[in-house]
Amino acid sequence: MKVTFPHMGNSYIAIKALLKGLKLEVVVPPPISNKTYELGVKNSPEFACLPLKLNMGNFIEALDQGADTIVMAGGWGPCRFGYYAQVERDILRDLGYDFDIYILESPDSKLTELILQLKDLGQNVSLAEALKALRFAWIKLKAVEQMEKKLEYYLPRSLDKDKTEKIYEKSLKDIDDANNKREINQILKSSIKQIESIECTNDKILKVGLIGEIYTILEPASNVNIVKTLGRLGVEITRSTYLTDWINDHILGGYIKKSNHKNIIKCAKPYVNYWVGGHGRETIGYAVHFAKQKYDGLIQIGPLTCMPEIVAQSILGKVGEEKEIPHMTIYFDEQSGSAGINTRLEAFVDMIQRNDSFVLKEDAKSEILSWS
């Protein structure tokens, strides 16, 4: 049995460790490329959102490389994601692929259920072994995220941005290859030391909150690598979604660390007063949260036609106006070109820089703030 799964940012490192711990042979899909886009777009419903199309691309490439089993998450709406696996299975079967699919339903349900589903998936693994695999995957996930945060902090400050990125990329590869906790700790220690030793600028760094839909935020290939683009423009970003936080909030019920989720929900009031599916409410909650912390701007991203994000987008204008924070919304689909997006990002950064360095008159301010 050769197992594959869809990409979502660097999560493949943890998922691979987990599946290997369940004694499965793993086929990681090739990194998302133009070919992935091409295959996905060709074989997906025209108006489906981008993550579904990229999933399809991942699956086709992995099946072509010999995978015979797909592991995919499910859900019960109202976001489209819950029905992804159903549509993807039907399309792939119609394309003539022969494979099994495991759908891990209800990621919002109890952890014990999830562990049992995982144990079932494994090849004769005991419960203890399944737990061990989970724990090791979690350690990798945390390590990867630590490096991501270092990159977000140091890339805008570093004077040698290429080197910073290189150290980051290498650390990811090393974490992926690591076999135990001790190795991971060593990699972290040395990579962080290297990244911190690069000379930094003394200029003031602009801070932007990156809010929006989880997949688009986590997967650089779906957002023309917005974190690095902004980092190179000298902007430090803070995301609204970090995978460990998401798992802690939604699967572990805040068991591992203190959850900020309730606070974010509170922040969303009175703009969003009810759950709107996906991350719509969190998007607005974080917008308010970042505004309170005096961030210089907000960028909302999501796949085109994403329903919860459209709700958030409709409300973001009001939040920006009342909390006096500049904001911009960018949707991504297979038509998104990096040059156009970069121009928009540069213009936005120029604007918040000006906003920051001048004390503006009231009327001029409102003019600039209305940018989106």
Binding site: P45, E46, C79, V87, Y271
Partner: protein, 329 residues
């Protein structure tokens, strides 16, 4: 008299008789916006964000019209779920918040939350809360609600007889409508009710089909049990209420010998439709199937051409007994 405004969009088509009866029984006067016209459409497009779907933009236009009228309340319900373990669409869950963020001159918004996805305990509290805006007598509120349910049932009965929801509302209000009964084709027409029964959004597709001497067979004419039975043949339950109705209805019509073809009307950018449309297209094997996507840029002439071509094809198929020809182009 207290005036309550109800925008003529989205769930107006499904629940207007219920809402109207409820408010009138509480002694309020109900005001609706006019039928969707160009002005409403263009104002809605102006106010709403570009990426939202056409029906929501139109709804914004209706709200805008009501804002300029002298009303005390505007009724914008938050419809999360109308049955167990099912949803409508995230936009419906956020619509009162979206409207509040976009208008400065709104009257007081009645934004009752209807969430039956787990149980219906909350609903009763919400109804009482709304009723208390008009009277403190809980019994009167309860009576108004009971009457509203009776009227809604009467309306549902009318809609089973082949009238669109738009027409059924008119009939329920006492108007008379005569349908053209001359037809030789029977076509299943699917889509979200607030799109296909709004004459501006769907560009009057059902009447256009009737003029081409086709009977439009709409999902409201089908029994709920039949729909659920067919929908349950899918490996996973469709968790959108309207989406499941579409899938179940289409699968049922696919088997029926008296149906000649199926048309699915979807709005550009509709989230559930992008998935449900795909499921239907893959499962409907026996009938010619056409997917029409509409938005504010759709031209009427293009739509007529496609409908005519579809009907011509169905007639030729029928007369030459060419049913052995593939249904897929």
């Amino acid at each position: 008299m207290i005036k309550v405004g109800i925008p003529r969009g989205l769930f107006y088509f499904y629940y207007y008789p219920l809402w109207k009866t409820f408010f009138e029984n509480l002694g309020a006067e109900v005001v609706t916006s006019s039928e969707t016209n160009n002005k409403i459409v263009s104002q809605g497009i102006d106010i709403a964000v570009d990426e939202t779907c056409f029906p929501v933009k139109v709804y914004y236009g209706h709200v805008n019209q009501l804002c300029n009228e002298n009303i005390d309340y505007i009724f914008i319900p938050r419809i999360v779920s109308v049955e167990l373990r099912s949803y409508i669409c995230p936009k419906f869950m956020g619509i009162p918040d979206m409207i509040r963020a976009s208008f400065n001159n709104l009257p007081y918004v009645i934004d009752i939350t209807i969430d039956l996805s787990r149980n219906n305990k909350e609903l009763k509290k919400e109804i009482i809360k709304v009723g208390q805006l008009f009277t403190s007598n809980k019994k009167a509120i309860n009576n108004a609600y009971q009457n509203a349910i009776i009227e809604q049932k009467r309306f549902n009965q009318i809609s089973k007889e082949g009238y669109t929801l738009d027409e059924a509302i008119k009939l329920w209000e006492g108007l008379k409508i005569k349908l053209n009964t001359k037809n030789d084709l029977k076509i299943g027409v699917f889509g979200h009710g607030y799109s296909i029964y709004d004459q501006a959004i769907s560009m009057n597709i059902i009447n256009k089909l009737r003029e081409m001497e086709c009977q439009a067979y709409i999902p409201e004419m089908l029994d709920k049990k039949i729909i659920e039975k067919e929908a349950s043949t899918l490996p996973k339950r469709v968790f959108w209420t309207i989406g499941r109705k579409m899938v179940g209805g289409a699968l049922h019509m696919d088997k029926r010998t008296d149906i000649d073809g199926i048309i699915y009307v979807s709005c550009f950018g509709c989230g559930p439709d992008s998935i449900v449309g795909e499921v239907i297209e893959r499962k409907v094997k026996n009938k010619p199937f056409m997917l029409i996507t509409v938005d504010e840029h759709t031209g009427e002439a293009g739509l007529v051409t496609r409908l005519e071509a579809f009907c011509d094809m169905l007639r030729r198929r029928k007369s030459n007994n060419e049913s052995n020809i593939s249904a897929h182009g």
